[in-house]
Amino acid sequence: MTPAKGLDRRSFLKTAAASGLLLGFHLPGSRTARAETADARLNAWVHVAPDDTVTLYIHKAEMGQGTVTSLAMLLAEELECDWARVHTEFPGIDRAYGGNQGVVGSQSVRSSWEPLRRAGASARQMLVQAASQQWGVDAAQCQARNGVVINSATGAKLSYGALADAAAKLTPPANVPLKDPSQFTIIGKPRKRLDTPSKVNGSAQFGIDVRLPGMLYAVVARCPVFGGKVASFDATKAKAMPGVKHVVQISNGVAVVAENTWAAAQARKALEVKFDEGQWAGQSSAGIAKLFVEKSQQPGAVARKDGDAAGVLAGAAKKIEAVYEAPYLAHAPMEPLNATADVRSDSCEVWASTQGQSAAHQVAIQVTGLKPDQVKVHTCYMGGGFGRRARADYIGEAVEVSKAIGAPVQLVWTREDDMQQDWYRPASYTKFVGSVGTDGMPEALHSRVICAPFGGLRDGVSRTGVEGIMDMPYAIPNLLVDYHAADVGIPVSYWRSVGYSQNTFFAESFIDELAVAAGKDALEFRRALLGKQPRMLAALNLAAEKAGWGKPLPAGRGRGIAVVNNIGSYTAQIAEVSASNGKLRVHKVVCAVDCGHVVNPSGVEQQIQSGIVYGLSAALKGSITIDKGRVQQDNFHNYDVLRIDEMPVVEVHIVPSTANPGGIGEAAVPPIAAAVANALYAANGKRVRTLPLAVLNR
């Protein structure tokens, strides 16, 4: 899997089509595979080479989520090829596609589940047909297995490689049947990742590892206040620094270009820039919190209304109120943002670790004014993405600088740039009012959410602001969810699991409060409310059984539950924590997940662990705060993350399912904060309603 150098779409198609079988298809939503390359809708290809190598060219990207391995498994299941000869490559993008190319929303397996298997089956059928023609026998007499076709009458064998050229001359079949899942030999069995070998010897090429002849390195001085602009700058001292080649203004700041990254970063310190800080120069976390409180006094746009929550609450005998708050969060992927661009008069090439190849392609077209087919985007491994790399701002900067200086350039964000110029998980505020009836069950729940919107408003409601509250899985007869969009000048965007990341903490904590008010066990309370949610209930029951819910714990320890239904999957977590001497410690997390048909169980386990670690970092420690319009955190010393010595034991249990696959990359993030907060309450009776939880340790 070498994604970057020299591989562009037209040249690989030419090379690959020159020999062997190349079958193009479209993901998602493929209808029929085609053995040609001219269709603009084609965005994935399988190539069977004469040397028996099978290569899957896939329009996705790998940021750690294991996508390329799972997708290769889908193909191999039907292709019946030799797994040891399977490779994947990222073709990148060099003209406008019908569809969007990128990896967001835990979509890859979900959208590829059927079309990739169908592509594998089509290629297999063509290879079988080629063998039957060669032997002059009926195709039914030919069996494909492990990269060879076997003549079941004579025992003769032909390898896929030997058949590939002949197969390429055949017409791809329409409506090729797929295996019944009971026949699967690859799907559902644990597989090691295809990318591991290159990730233990330093050879995996991330975006930041791209090296081009004559390439220079750039860093950018940006306004520390969001929305501010460069007023003027003096580059005299910066230009005098060793190794500095250019200082150029771009739309987002002033770029310093040098012989190496360090020289550019040193010279940036010598750059004198005056910024017009704009309208948000006085913004602060305290001011934002005050605005949220003010907004919470007024009715918002209605996101959901079942029954008459207001009326029931007005006459309720037992009413519970609580306010929950979550801070801004940075994504902080381990690979700082970067992009490499080579802009020439008639072409532009971009190498980037990006979750959004189409967005990268678009921004490069906009900046250069070139035609879509003159711009190429090469997909590199990402050192983490978590939603940040769905934005193309850093890619546009690299293209601007290369265009300005007329040379290839790698533009690098330092860690400080990354934390202070992010598109953050929005800060959010939710006020709950709920009531429980004499039967101990919830009667009504009113949730008022205040959160900055992104992705647009519909009838005044941002879906990303209310998801996780609006669609909580519990049957409560009277529900009201209303929402205030609060634009406070801080750029916000997708952060792994998006609105669920904070709203599941709010909702699952408050459900626990209702259970306490009702005098009920947290598990029994939830079970009673999940009668119409059999998959959610099954995941909860499995987690409870494996965690030993109800079994006695040592003094000072507690267990807490939280569940979520997002990205088409159902996840239940039970955390076990202790709180002693002011120190919160998460000992164990038992997680059960129903993510539909599992492609790679070890990939699911990795992603559950990953989601828990990412969510736990945020739950225990994560907080971005604003003062004078500026982000106050700038590196891992003041934006700390979970370390190995804080890692709980994580147990993953998969609910067997034959439903279509759900997503997994974002499944385990939302519940962990609430599971820990609820466990903390069980341990010491303290209800923490503000993240991060570790604040209570100070």
Partner: protein, 161 residues
């Protein structure tokens, strides 16, 4: 600017660089060895870990002048064909996800195994707690280090010394 000489992955190298330039950027930008990663620039995350005379060092905060005359080992030079016990264990346990921090994790773990033949969980915590992984591979890292210690004892390879 006098040339700075050191031994890199077993071979003598001479670089023309400002003495204050961090070893990380000399490796990555001047010499093109990109396996060593930039993560924070302040010795806070461990992604840039290399060995200097066998000791794990944060190359982002190590001026290149300070390694003059010393032996520097990067992930590319830890072993031929990734056969050190730690690398074999990393493959066996399928540790990496995004993989970006793993060069630093492996270099730190290799230094631990070289010093402590059978590390306890507490030894692992102590040695590895300053290597950040955002993907959450910690549980696999722990398992892989225990496995590496066994592999090292059974069949030591170059890179394990």
């Amino acid at each position: 600017m006098p040339a700075i000489q050191f031994v890199l992955n077993g071979k003598p190298r001479s670089v023309d660089a400002a003495g204050a330039m961090p070893l990380l950027w000399v490796l990555r930008d001047t010499l093109g060895l990109t396996g060593t990663k930039f993560g924070c620039g302040m010795a806070l995350c461990g992604a840039c870990t290399v060995h200097v005379n066998g000791q794990p060092m944060r190359s982002c905060s190590t001026p290149v002048a300070s390694v003059a005359g010393k032996h520097v080992t990067t992930i590319e030079g830890l072993s031929p064909d990734a056969t050190s016990a730690v690398q074999r264990a990393w493959v066996e346990e399928d540790v990496p996800q995004c993989g970006y921090c793993q060069s630093g994790q492996i270099m730190t773990a290799a230094a631990l195994i070289a010093k402590t033949k059978a590390p306890t969980d507490a030894d692992i915590d102590e040695a590895m707690r300053n290597n950040i992984c955002r993907c959450g591979t910690y549980q696999q890292i722990r398992r892989a280090i225990h496995l590496a210690a066994r592999l090292h004892a059974e069949t030591p390879q170059k890179g394990d010394e």
